[in-house]
Amino acid sequence: MSDTPKTLFEKVWEQHIVAEPAGEPTLIYIDLHLIHEVTSPQAFEGLRLAGRKVRRPDRCVATVDHNVPTILADRFNIVDQIAAKQISTLRENCKEFGVELYDIGSREQGIVHVIGPELGITKPGMTIVCGDSHTSTHGAFGALAFGIGTSEVEHVLATQTLPQGKPKTFRIAVEGELPKGVTAKDIVLAIIGKIGTDGATGHVIEYAGSAIRSLSMEGRMTICNMSIEAGARAGMIAPDEITFEYLKGRRFAPKGEAWDKAVQEWSKLPTDPGAKFDRELIIDAATLVPYVSWGTSPGMVAPITAVVPNPAEAQSEADRRSFERALEYMDLKAGTLLEEIPVDRVFIGSCTNSRIEDLRAAAKIARGHKVSTHVSAMVVPGSMQVKEQAEAEGLDLVFKEAGFDWREPGCSMCLGMNPDILSPGERCASTSNRNFEGRQGRGGRTHLVSPEMAAAAAIAGHFVDVRTWSGLDEADEIQMSSTEAVN
């Protein structure tokens, strides 16, 4: 081949260049614009004020997730009037501008980053944006997907394009076999712990290597989801048989001949041998363990077997100060074994870990056990379809029998814009993505973990090394029973 070898990112980027005006950012075409209630109202109002239309309503999909209550009875009678207004505004905007909305009560409703993939709306090679930083999730399909601000939401609504400076590329290869009890969540927590929360700023990460290749789509989404926590513009994984297998038969996946043609096109996307990245990092999967975050930034993570670090050992003076502040906020003492930290709440959910596979993994740990008497634990499926599937598999019963609350889909306690929040001082094992001060409720203390680790903490009442959990090896037949599409 005479062509220069290209990366996955470069291929997708180049296929979407609309114009490259000299001295200006490149104009990129957007294949899919996902919309939710919180960051869109001003964008729609901007269109109205300028007398503009949505250029391609067929390339927009909206849902409600951030504000929605997760208790069934509350969903159709939202008490928080400001939240209710944001939701009804989205309803009106979608109607006025002709955008498809998966509303409360519809079978498709769910967290925006969960429903795109499960409906087959998200596809390899696409450019995808949403007014939400965790849009990076969709990169798991080999799409270029990133979060945008409200002005940019308006820009995409009006023009279906975005002016963008070209990001740099960063290849992170995770090679080898993942040890038992170590999950996709642990891979990404390890990466963030290693490179820092600004470690990939200005870059698009491509995750590669045999450990990544062997992950399910759910696991790949978990990893791409948290790319933003490493500062990256986006995360991507090359599409392969696992990707195609996941998409095949989904509602908006191509069918028949169109499917074959699609697979043919998508198969051209993976990075060519010899393509150059601006940066590279290789991680040995065998060295990975389950991780727990101990501080107030996703970079503040440690192996479950470790102790809360001593600020005196921080690399820099600035780190030392932020470690001290974090420990004070988290009410933790240096030297405490992570396994000895008790939890008050457990949250299994969010666009990071609320897919069917996450729930299966948590249920596997919970099966036959009881949630500790001093812990309140909840499971919030990522979407109506995940909820239906889980119920069809009886996972809801496993959770309920163990004493978990089984809720309706939404963002829930990931950010507490709805009524699901921590009280001041409460400590939570959470499968979400951000442990910022007050993120899950003012004064609340968040520890980020995998679904398995969260379920085990709920039962033990404190963090435990899930690798030692009895029954971890059992019941794989429950897991395997349905890899087919949800619908």
Binding site: E24, D31, E100, T150, Q160, P163, F252, P254, W266
Partner: protein, 207 residues
């Protein structure tokens, strides 16, 4: 976005450094669903202070704000730019601006003029002491002047990124700019739409 060529206006001196976006527009107003109407909440807490510059009738109607360094620091809320613009400000003069605010201001047609600390100190002083003190910002020439003549007069030049300058002068918001490429967009789209495998919900899909 309204084009910005030259602006002559009263200048309000806000003699504070590190004016953060929480002060420009406090968080209780972020839950609103509108993009307009933030002007009345601009500097909400400070406006309870009787001596606050915007409460002084002398500065009523000023479209230029002069402030000390690191203006617009803090959160990324675009509401800060919306509030300034809705209140009527079209330009802010300061020694430095925070990054994100800088970008948000540009998207909303607000001209940010960086002058030296000495120049800003002088302007803050003159605007405070001289009744009806007006400044002229000429974006094409990249100058700031007051009406005074000879040695008395203030005259400064400022730097601005050529592309940003072009957008502000033409009054092109990003959408306006993109619309210059409508022909390219139309032709790209007509080809790209054949790529069925990149469609969110292909028409062929069964519901």
């Amino acid at each position: 976005m309204e084009p910005f060529k030259t602006l002559t206006s009263l200048a309000a001196p806000l003699d504070r450094a590190n004016v953060d976006t929480d002060q420009i527009i406090p968080k209780q107003f972020l839950k609103r669903i509108e993009r307009s109407g933030y002007g009345e909440f601009l500097f909400f807490d400070w406006r309870n202070e009787p001596g606050f510059v915007l409460n002084d009738p002398r500065y009523a109607g000023s479209q230029i704000l002069i402030a000390d360094k690191n203006f617009g620091c803090g959160s990324s809320r675009e509401h800060a730019a919306w509030a300034l613009s809705d209140y009527g400000f079209r330009a802010v003069i300061a020694p430095t601006f925070a990054d994100i605010f800088f970008s948000n201001a540009g998207k909303n047609g607000i001209v940010l003029v960086r002058l030296s600390e000495e120049q800003v100190t002088l302007l803050l002083d003159r605007a405070a002491k001289t009744p009806n003190y007006k400044l002229t910002i000429n974006l094409e020439a990249q100058t700031v002047t007051d009406g005074l003549s000879g040695d008395e007069g203030f005259h400064a030049t400022f730097e601005i990124d050529p592309f940003r300058k072009f957008c502000l002068i033409e009054g092109l918001d990003d959408i306006g700019l993109t619309l210059r490429h409508t022909a390219e967009l139309d032709s790209y789209e007509s080809k790209h739409d054949h790529a069925n495998w990149l469609k969110p919900r292909p028409a062929t899909a069964s519901a």
